[in-house]
Symmetry: C2
Subunit: 245 residues, 2 copies
DNA sequence: CCAAAAGTGTTTCAGCTACACCCATGA
DNA sequence: TCATGGGTGTAGCTGAAACACTTTTGG
């Protein structure tokens, strides 16, 4: 950071890529766009685009998401979080592109009106074989984003970002189950969540039917807390051993 | 990511910044360099520099660290981990600079031979008032890096990255205490570490004096595990409440 | 009545905290 | 001998897992 010369180096293009998740119909879904041009024409890719000269990466991420998928930040309920930056020199065959990746969570999936830029946009089930390999290194980015979200559910109150303003504890539990791919004990989950001050707040008197059948469930709002002490650990992958790479 | 034109946008400079931590003499220290030029001449800053057109950010980070501080990756014992990317348009007064920040941990601090680029390099105590505000937004980067490292100690085996190849459990415990700024019960810490398979491996027969006094301590090596199940939680900051922003 | 989901109670067990206590060494 | 840090033992608490049970709805 000592010797500066604006033109001493070949210019870098800086882009953003977004892995936007939601939970719909009991499944984890990702927002993908179909590429209309080479390279990777016809392949699915993460939404994203160039960072403009006067904007921060996060600003660019919100703008591109709206432009490309017609999905704006409705009611400010879009949770956006920087994932990491991918900078391998050959990750784009045409030029040097450094991409700042974001993981995003949205509660209810509004309709996707394929925006100005992209040929097609759709919420596809995460991990599905329906969309082959993604363009560029987007498979890796998507996988990293999924890992990050799964981990953050353990020690933050992030799960409410998948839920509408008013939700039941069963819906909140489904977020954990769908992201982790496991089943949780409803009784223990309930106690754990309610025992964490500020995770959720009950809406007095309100209740709603969920599965069509069953007792109506009380409604809750997201509380002000952001972190979980102690954390809500997912069942150990191995039989309680230190994980090796 | 649809319409490409290499010169359609003002070029971005892409740099790396490193927050390199070590534990020396019972204190957490950071590697800083003194700036020789404007802006912020004479101020302390994180080591870092430009990413070259043909290298990934992590490669650039290792190279700059060696060039600027003369501190190479001795024995491959440098733990380097991407933190996040800082891209606010005004973070450098001269031009648009997007910086990929890294957190790094090293075991024993070899001498720092202020390298080619920097005026001076030194290991300064973290949080000390000795170095005023850092250049650019480096105070924030350093703070973010400290948070990240502190958090990762809880649920990964990262602490061994601060230790030499052979270390005692007291030294390992000191890493936690120094980074978290708390005291830990030696007995319980010992049991917890040994109960996690793959965290450390005892070196049979070896022992060493540590504080000059006291019983010689057994020596251990880092094991192959990377994550901690269940985690080693630090004492809650508040009286066991969900943390609010 | 039955199925399904919400919600409560209870037993059991693992893990953590706290603290007492012994061991080996230098001063 | 005392101070210091390593290392072991143990009683008690907390919280999570597992599972039985009640409640309230739709079919």
């Amino acid at each position: 950071m000592q010797g500066y010369d604006k033109h001493a180096y070949e210019p870098f293009a800086v882009t953003v890529d977004l892995a936007v998740f939601t939970v719909r119909a009991g499944a984890l879904r990702v927002l993908l766009v179909e590429r209309g041009q080479e390279p990777y024409a016809g392949r699915w890719a993460l939404p994203g685009g160039f960072v403009q000269p006067d904007e921060a990466a996060e600003t660019a991420a919100r703008r591109e998401l709206a432009e490309e998928t017609g999905f704006g930040d409705v009611d400010g309920r879009l949770h956006l979080e920087q994932l990491r930056t991918y900078s391998e020199p050959d990750r784009d065959p045409r030029m040097r592109v450094v991409s700042v990746a974001f993981a995003a969570l949205v509660p209810d999936p509004p309709e996707v009106s394929g925006g100005s830029d992209a040929a097609r946009a759709a919420w596809l089930p995460y991990g599905s074989t329906a969309y082959g390999p993604l363009a560029f290194d987007h498979d890796r980015i998507l996988s990293d984003a999924h890992d990050r979200v799964g981990g953050k559910l353990e020690y933050t109150c992030l799960a409410t970002a998948f839920c509408p303003p008013e939700f039941t504890l069963g819906e909140l539990r489904q977020v954990y189950e769908v992201v982790w791919g496991t089943e949780l004990d409803p009784a223990n989950f309930r106690r754990k969540v309610l025992a964490t001050p500020g995770f959720v707040e009950q809406i007095p008197g309100a209740s709603r039917l969920t599965g069509g059948r069953g007792k109506p469930a009380a409604l809750y709002r997201a509380g002000g807390a952001v972190s979980l002490h102690p954390p809500l650990l997912r069942p150990a992958p191995e039989p309680s051993e230190g994980t090796r790479p």
